[in-house]
């Protein structure tokens, strides 16, 4: 059985996306009900950020790993998708080179670097979307958890990781387009990437992916495995003394989370039309953590709400108060940490406590810590 918050989230995300897509596709541009493509692209972007937030919540909320480098996995997934999209441009690039992307022609490269091979196939690219973040997380996590790097030390080295990747991808010699990154995409699986229909479809696919991830994450944290995970989060030493191997539990959820972020990144790229190294910037990772905090750590659904809310606010304020929006955003973070320690989700549960309704159970703090039997 699904609890109500998850159910509502699933319905809203999926239903909302479908509704927007239908209103965009089925109504005339002049109609009052028409949803402009601008909104479709925006909503799609938010949903991808929600996937990143969900991934962060999974490791932070349930395994106590505060990752300040999760955007790295997001960006790696994005780059894998971007490489596929680059190969699809073919001869339609500026230089008309069928084999090499424009930036390589421009750098005077004669042949495709080895790591670009295979990305012309969609299947291979999708495999890489999962594998590249997954393998990096596996190696990094194995080393870090094995040597019991925890707490802020772990946070800082995840930051070092994403910072190192940022610098690496900035280098033009790396073969990923340097600062300009990958852009000028034409089509995906033969569909024009700029057409409204493709955008609507991508929005719906993102919604489906987000819902699937939510269900997977929920399944994981409610399983026996999830119980141990929460024990690790709360007292790692005690769990170890009980005979569990915390590092293995952490590693599994860490890799899963990286893969989820990677998928989010892969869906993000075709919708915003560009991927470049600034996605690796540590500030992006910190922001993802903030989405989770705003929504409510350790609630899964809260992460999604937080991502949608903060990004919506950002879009709104950058247009409405271009000179002052940073004040608003900064104040929001301070306000949330001071007055909403359990985030927006905490707001709902606390309200219940104040005005209990007949069918309401006594809510507990950070509710999702409790596990179904």
């Amino acid at each position: 059985m699904l609890e109500r918050s998850t159910l509502v989230a699933l319905i809203v995300v999926l239903g909302g996306a479908l509704l927007l897509a239908v209103l965009n596709q089925a109504t005339a541009a002049a109609s009052a009900m028409h949803v402009p493509t601008y909104v479709i692209a925006l909503a799609g972007k938010y949903l991808c950020f929600a996937m990143l937030a969900l991934a962060v919540d999974l490791v932070w909320g349930f395994a106590g790993i505060l990752s300040l480098g999760h955007a790295a996995f997001f960006a790696l997934g994005g780059y894998a998708m971007g490489m596929y999209l680059m190969r699809q441009i073919g001869t339609r690039g500026v230089y008309g080179n069928a084999e090499l992307p424009d930036f390589m022609v421009f750098l005077g490269w004669k042949s495709l670097p080895w790591f670009w091979h295979g990305f012309e196939w969609f299947g291979f690219a999708m495999l890489m979307v999962v594998l590249v973040p997954g393998v990096l997380a596996l190696v990094f996590g194995y080393l870090a958890f094995r040597s019991r790097v925890t707490g802020v030390y772990l946070s800082i080295i995840t930051q070092a990781l994403t910072y190192a990747l940022l610098l690496a991808f900035f280098r033009n010699d790396m073969g990923f387009g340097g600062n300009n990154g990958l852009t000028d995409f034409k089509d995906i699986l033969g569909f024009n990437i700029q057409s409204d229909a493709t955008r609507s479809a991508l929005l719906v696919i993102s919604a489906i992916a987000l819902c699937a991830q939510l269900l997977v994450a929920r399944f994981v944290v409610r399983s026996r495995f999830g119980k141990v995970l929460i024990a690790v989060r709360d007292t790692e030493a005690r769990t170890r003394f009980l005979g569990y191997r915390p590092e293995s539990y952490k590693l599994v959820v860490w890799v899963l989370s990286a893969v989820m972020a990677g998928i989010g990144g892969a869906l993000y790229v075709p919708q915003v039309g560009i991927i470049n190294p600034s996605e690796f910037s540590p500030a992006n990772s910190i922001e993802a953590v903030i989405w989770v905090a705003v929504g409510g750590r350790g609630t899964l659904v809260g992460a999604i709400i937080g991502a949608l809310l903060v990004n919506f606010g950002k879009t709104w304020f950058t247009g409405l108060l271009p000179e002052f929006w940073l004040y608003a955003l900064g104040a929001l973070f301070i306000f949330v940490t001071l007055f909403l320690p359990r985030g927006v989700m905490g707001l709902f549960t606390r309200r219940e406590k104040l005005a209990p309704e007949p069918e309401a159970e006594t809510p507990t703090a950070s509710a999702a810590h409790e596990v179904t039997g």
Binding site: I290, A331, F333, L338
Partner: protein, 535 residues
């Protein structure tokens, strides 16, 4: 236009009657007015020629006029008459030195690099006989750079009179360079000159030797050997130089991280607004300089000394305020301090942007921090030297404050065992606020130093926050010695990798090494021991 060859000029100087010389001086003055007005290559060429002619004309006002030209105070009228602007704004006639109250319609004589080189050379040979030894040294160096054979007679005369050993050496080197450039020196003289330059052994000597051409075979061979010898010597120095670069980078990192070592290392607050405290320190410097320029121009040179305590106070006060209003609600929730302070950093950045604008602000470097000094083959830039010194002083003061002052004692007590400290009558909330203020204040002082080497812009802090966290974590949280060693190690490793791997790759390698190091030593170089570890 015709340019007289140097030797011809010499002949003219010796032989020409006085009238011809006066004519030449007239020509020189007229030529000097060439570049007033619309810039053109011919105009600059004319000025350069004028400078060269004037320098060799023997005109008693040559040094004054060329000096005024160098300072940008030489003005020309449409009829090519020249005037010098005095410090009080009035004009004097350049030729006679008489006041020229009727000067009007003047345009400055423009300079370009070619003219500037000519000025340097001209002033060099004119000032070889200056009464002040430092001026003569600079003049000899200028002649060395120009290595104009025309300066040879003057050099020979100056050498005969020179008593200061250092100046004498410089003059001999200048003479050697001029000799090698002249067409009619003997082979033995040339070989001696090469040996003289080989003994000088610095980068300029190497550059000059490498530029030689058309020398006799033996001289060319000797010059090549000298270049090899100098290169070998410079190679050795370059290792030391890299160590110096590393130390100076390390001390910048140390300064940036020292405040964080308190707020994060000692108090456990993940203070993302740390960089903004550094930035506030830098802006305090800017404000202090502006105010002093306006109200206390007499003691402007010491503005940085005044800015240091003020930056400490301003940033420290903001730190106390932040702790009282924000951080204190979040103790025991270290990760949430991250979010709140991140929000705070956004607000502070934008606030600075609103107040001062998004552009860089101009922070002066006082004269005593500009330039560099030469120590053997080492180039030591003054600003970096002072920063190294400053970093050492800040660290020492911080350690002393923690160890020897009552406040330091209380701070340590509170961080080690809050409840016990409270039971002993320590006002822990007050101590928390002061500790956070201390950390922020130290960050503010770092801002004063960084304003000397980096942009003073709202983004200043952002550039250092990641590095600062790396340094503190690498050294071991809560350990000031660790922070210092961490900063120096990262600085030196970085500077040795940079020439090999390039700036970007070098930094990536450092980060990867850091990640691997943390895997080996999960709590940094100097881990805290005891129960504190698990909390």
């Amino acid at each position: 236009m015709l340019r007289l060859p140097a030797w011809l000029m010499l002949v003219l100087l010796v032989l020409a009657p006085l009238s011809a010389r006066a004519q030449e001086t007239d020509d020189a003055y007229a030529a000097l007015a060439g570049s007033a007005g619309i810039p053109s290559a011919a105009g600059f060429d004319s000025v350069r020629r004028g400078v060269e002619q004037l320098a060799t004309s023997g005109d008693p006002r040559a040094a004054v006029v060329i000096g005024a030209l160098q300072a940008g105070q030489l003005y020309a009228r449409a009829d090519r008459a020249l005037f010098i602007k005095q410090p009080d704004g009035s004009f004097v006639d350049a030729r006679s030195g008489a006041p020229a109250p009727d000067a009007a319609g003047l345009r400055p004589v423009r300079l370009n690099n070619a003219v500037r080189s000519a000025i340097d050379a001209a002033l060099g040979s004119l000032r070889l006989f200056a009464p002040d030894a430092a001026t003569r040294l600079a003049a000899a160096e200028a002649v060395f750079k120009s290595h104009d054979p025309a300066a040879l007679p003057a050099l020979t005369r100056a050498l005969a009179k020179e008593s200061d050993a250092a100046v004498k050496t410089r003059m001999q080197q200048a003479r050697a360079a001029a000799l090698l450039s002249s067409g009619d020196a003997s082979e033995a003289d040339r070989l001696a000159a090469v040996a003289m330059l080989r003994a000088r052994g610095d980068i300029d000597a190497r550059g000059f030797l490498a530029s030689l051409s058309g020398q006799p075979q033996s001289v060319a061979t000797a010059a090549a050997a000298a270049i090899t010898a100098i290169d070998r010597q410079l190679q050795l120095w370059s290792i030391l130089q890299s160590v110096y670069y590393g130390i100076s980078l390390g001390s910048v990192l140390l300064l940036a991280a020292a405040g964080l070592a308190i707020t994060f290392g000692v108090m456990g607050v993940i203070n993302m607004a740390h960089g903004e405290m550094v930035m506030i320190g830098a802006y305090t410097t800017f404000v202090v300089q502006q105010l002093m320029r306006a109200y206390l121009p007499g003691i402007y040179a010491i503005n940085l000394l005044l800015a240091i305590p003020l930056a400490f106070l301003v940033a420290g006060a903001i730190g106390v305020l932040v702790e009282r209003t924000l951080i204190r609600w979040l103790y025991g929730r270290p990760l949430e301090t991250l979010l709140a302070t991140w929000g705070l950093s956004l607000v502070l950045q934008q606030a600075v942007r609103s107040i001062f604008g998004a552009n860089n602000r101009d922070v002066d470097t006082p004269w005593w921090m500009s330039g560099a000094t030469q120590l053997g083959g080492l180039t030591l830039t003054w600003n970096r030297m002072y920063i190294v010194l400053f970093a050492v002083l800040v660290l020492a003061a911080l350690m002393a404050a923690l160890r020897y002052t009552p406040l330091g004692l209380r701070m340590r007590a509170v961080t080690q065992n809050r409840r016990m400290a409270a039971a002993m009558g320590i006002r822990t909330p007050w101590i928390d606020a002061l500790t956070f203020g201390l950390g922020s204040g130290v960050a503010g002082m770092a801002g004063v130093a960084l304003s000397q080497i980096d942009n003073v812009s709202p983004n200043l802090g952002q550039g250092y926050i990641i590095d600062s966290f790396m340094v503190v974590v690498f050294g071991g949280v809560g350990n000031l010695w660790g922070t210092m060693l961490g900063a120096l190690t990262l600085g030196i490793v970085n500077k040795f990798l940079e020439p090999v791997a390039g700036a970007v790759l070098g930094k990536i390698v450092v980060l990867v090494l850091l990640i691997l190091f943390i895997q080996r030593r999960p709590r940094g170089m100097f881990p805290l021991k005891g129960r504190a570890v698990e909390t």
